[in-house]
């Protein structure tokens, strides 16, 4: 009886609505938060400080948008270059690209940013450092003078200095390594027969690249590239550590000035969510447009075609005369071209092609020479490291003060790398049931499970990890009335964050199974629980193991963000040591980056071996 009623959509919807109303009533009117909500702090000018904090957060959004756009463009160009290098036949280029991707993917972004901002300037010669420090330009300097009246005041007052440049550098090199892997996977997904046919028809490498490889792989590259762009936007929240006043920084500012953490975090989350949802909407529209097949009847297709159709029609209408002229010119040139070259032209072609070979050889030699020089300089620098600084503090970096009898140290003084490992292990084990239920709820048709799972996954995935950490830090004490040590706040935040991503992995695993499995299970009379437990989940979990290991690597790198709460994990230990010792920042940051790199690289190699062992027929690098 219950099952009959529960299958009806209106029953599910009304139950959901009543539960939501009940929750709103309880949390709104009955529960005593012990915290006075004051939403006006966002909408009025603050009397004590004379600043409008709502507008401050909007300025923060401005910085976030500018930062993510510029770093995404740079990351794309760098990523294309490195991705092409990853499929190159020239071994030094291949090794350099592989080294670049492996290094920048396996170190946390926070450590990279701190390195670029605090450690890198001491490696520069004095004159260069002075010049870099006094850089500062705004939009007015980029636009010609007569256009600068168009700039609204909130854009005109943005100043791009050393902080902005380091943030852009760190973000773009980090995102470029991910984009390079995406591009490489797309390039390698082209069937070999196409390339063989192209080469046997006499096309050169550049012709094959521009006319066959890039257009076809475009379709495979665009969706993951878009999600990398989204990740870049969320990672821009880390720029607050180098002094950029973007959205996360602004929410912290509002919280410090007015002590209204809840309101500030809500406003920042809403703004981040709208940015994420906007970018995802654009991505989905692009995916729908690029998709082959589909009869144009689904809602998404109609919406996208409804928007793009008129635009492309007007565009082609307006450019019709231009296109006609160009077409006529091309046809005319084609008619005039003769099959055979004149002797002078043939001689010219021959000299050009033979000198081209020499030119390429020369470029290769120059490349090898410069790489060797850079390596030599880096090696010299590393040899002249103060190794005793690193060795003296290595134990501190590994496990801080364990074992410690100090009652104020959490978990007997564990810290550094061991704390990072501990947090990552706790987060991934506790988030596994959470992610499982979220993923199952996401794939179910019952709205009662589906809507909360979708809301949970989308809200958490739309916010950067910093915001989730702030939420847990502010919200749990208010909710439970207890005081939580920062270690547990950070671990809970990591667990909640990983749960959402695991939910998506579980959903992908379940949806990748042949639908016949589910149908066969149901038609033999198995219930939902039995189907999931005995048929679907075992197969899905086997598929999911490589992405889960990838998620573990990401979580391990994200433990560095617990630095913002003051947890003594590896990044915080490095900062503390740097503060103590003061004169060897490069050695310390390089050692920290190296520790992270070893752990993450080992795990990624393990993931690769696992993937090859589990599905040898389609072992391709997971993105």
């Amino acid at each position: 009886m219950i099952r009959f009623w529960m299958e009806k959509k209106w029953v599910q919807l009304s139950l959901l609505l009543s539960l939501v109303l009940l929750a709103v009533y309880y949390w709104g009117w009955v529960f005593d938060f012990g915290y006075k909500f004051d939403w006006s702090v966002l909408f009025t000018v603050n009397e004590t400080y004379g600043e409008h904090y709502g507008l401050l957060m909007l300025k923060g959004v401005c910085w976030t948008v500018v930062l993510s756009l510029i770093s995404a463009v740079l990351a794309l160009s760098l990523g294309v270059a490195v991705g092409l290098g990853r499929v190159s036949q020239f071994k030094p280029v291949y090794w350099l690209s592989t080294a670049y991707v492996e290094f920048f993917r396996n170190t946390p972004l926070l450590v990279q940013l701190l390195f670029w901002y605090f450690a890198f300037p001491s490696a520069l010669p004095d004159a260069a450092r002075e010049w870099v420090f006094q850089l500062g330009f705004g939009f007015q300097d980029l636009l010609p003078g007569w256009m600068s009246w168009m700039l609204p005041p909130w854009l005109a007052e943005m100043n791009f200095g050393f902080e902005f440049l380091t943030a852009v550098l760190g973000l773009s090199t980090y995102t470029a390594s991910f984009m390079a892997e995406v591009i490489r996977a797309g390039l390698q997904s082209i069937p070999k027969g196409l390339l063989e046919a192209a080469y046997s028809s006499g096309l050169t490498y550049s012709q094959v690249l521009s006319r066959i490889i890039l257009p076809i792989s475009f379709r495979a590259i665009i969706p993951p590239l878009g999600s990398e762009f989204l990740n870049n936007m969320k990672n821009s929240s880390l720029a607050m550590f180098v002094g950029i006043t973007e959205l996360a920084w602004c929410s912290q500012q509002v919280e410090s000035m007015t002590f209204r953490g809840f309101e500030a975090a809500t406003a920042a989350s809403v703004l981040y969510l709208s940015l994420s949802l906007g970018i995802s909407a654009v991505l989905n529209a692009v995916n729908i447009r690029l998709r082959i097949g589909g009869n144009g009847r689904s809602f998404g297709e109609r919406l996208v075609n409804g928007v793009f159709g008129p635009v492309s029609q007007t565009f082609s209408l307006l450019t019709r005369p231009v296109r006609r002229v160009v077409r006529r010119a091309i046809a005319k040139r084609r008619r005039q071209r003769t099959v055979s070259y004149s002797p002078a032209r043939a001689a010219l072609n021959k000299t050009v092609s033979s000198s081209w070979v020499f030119l390429v050889l020369g470029l290769k030699a120059v490349f090898i020479g410069s790489i060797a020089y850079v390596l030599y300089r880096a090696l010299m620098g590393v040899i002249h490291f103060q190794w005793d600084v690193i060795f003296d503090n290595f134990k501190l970096m590994l496990y801080w003060r364990f074992p410690s009898d100090d009652p104020s140290d959490v978990l007997a003084g564990v810290g550094g790398l061991s704390m990072a490992v501990l947090m990552a292990v706790i987060a991934i084990t506790c988030s596994f049931p959470l992610g499982l239920f979220a993923g199952l709820g996401r794939t179910s048709r019952n709205l009662l499970w589906k809507v909360p799972s979708v809301v949970y996954i989308e809200v958490i995935r739309g916010n950067p990890l910093i915001m989730v950490i702030f939420w847990v830090y502010f919200f749990i004490p208010v909710l439970t009335g207890t005081f939580l040590h920062v270690f547990w706040s950070a671990t809970i935040a990591l667990t909640v964050f990983t749960g959402a991503y695991l939910g998506e992995i579980v959903r992908a695993g379940i949806e990748n199974l042949p639908p016949g499995q589910l149908e066969a299970a149901y038609s033999t009379g198995l219930s939902y629980v039995q189907t999931m437990r005995r048929v679907i989940l075992p197969q899905a979990l086997k598929q999911m193991i490589p992405p889960i290991v990838g998620q573990f690597i990401a979580i391990f790198k994200d433990t560095s963000l617990a630095y913002v709460l003051g947890v003594m994990e590896l990044t915080n230990v490095t900062m503390v040591l740097n503060n103590r010792i003061m004169i060897y920042p490069i050695e310390l940051y390089t050692a920290a980056a190296f520790l992270y790199f070893i752990c993450c690289y080992a795990m990624s190699q393990y993931a690769r071996i696992l993937e090859q062992r589990l599905s040898p027929e389609k072992s391709r690098l997971a993105m």
Binding site: Y49, F118, P121, S122, R129, F133, G136, E157, N159, G161, F162, E163, M240, F241, G243, T245, W249, Q252, Q253, E255, S256, M257, V564, M575, V576, N578, N579, M582, P585
Partner: protein, 138 residues
Amino acid sequence: MGQKIATMQGTTSEINIKNLLKSLGDKDYDKNVISFQKESECYQALKMGRVAAWTTDSTILLGYAAKDAGQFELVGDFISEEPYGMGLPEDDSKLRDAVNFALQDMWADGTYMTIYNKWYGPDTPYYFPMTEKIEMWP
């Protein structure tokens, strides 16, 4: 003026230095103040030369200046007069009175200055002459 100054984000020092720069006529007062998250970051920025100065509570500055003897010093007048206070639970008059009278007694019989000279006296690395007096309540 014209150079960059570090503060910690969200503190009164940040507001005070911005107002001071504005009153002195620096038109780039917003860009010249860089706000970091923690003291360690401010100190590192000062050490590497990114900023010319760091403004925060004088006790914090004293501690960091003493760490690297001879390299840094506190300059200029106090930008704002913000004495430290002790946070107590609301409506607890007995505890508040007990604390206040204990401090007054210490000031009256000289224990306060002894302790002060032990930590901030002329022989210590954190030398800072005492410029205030405690107000005596009846």
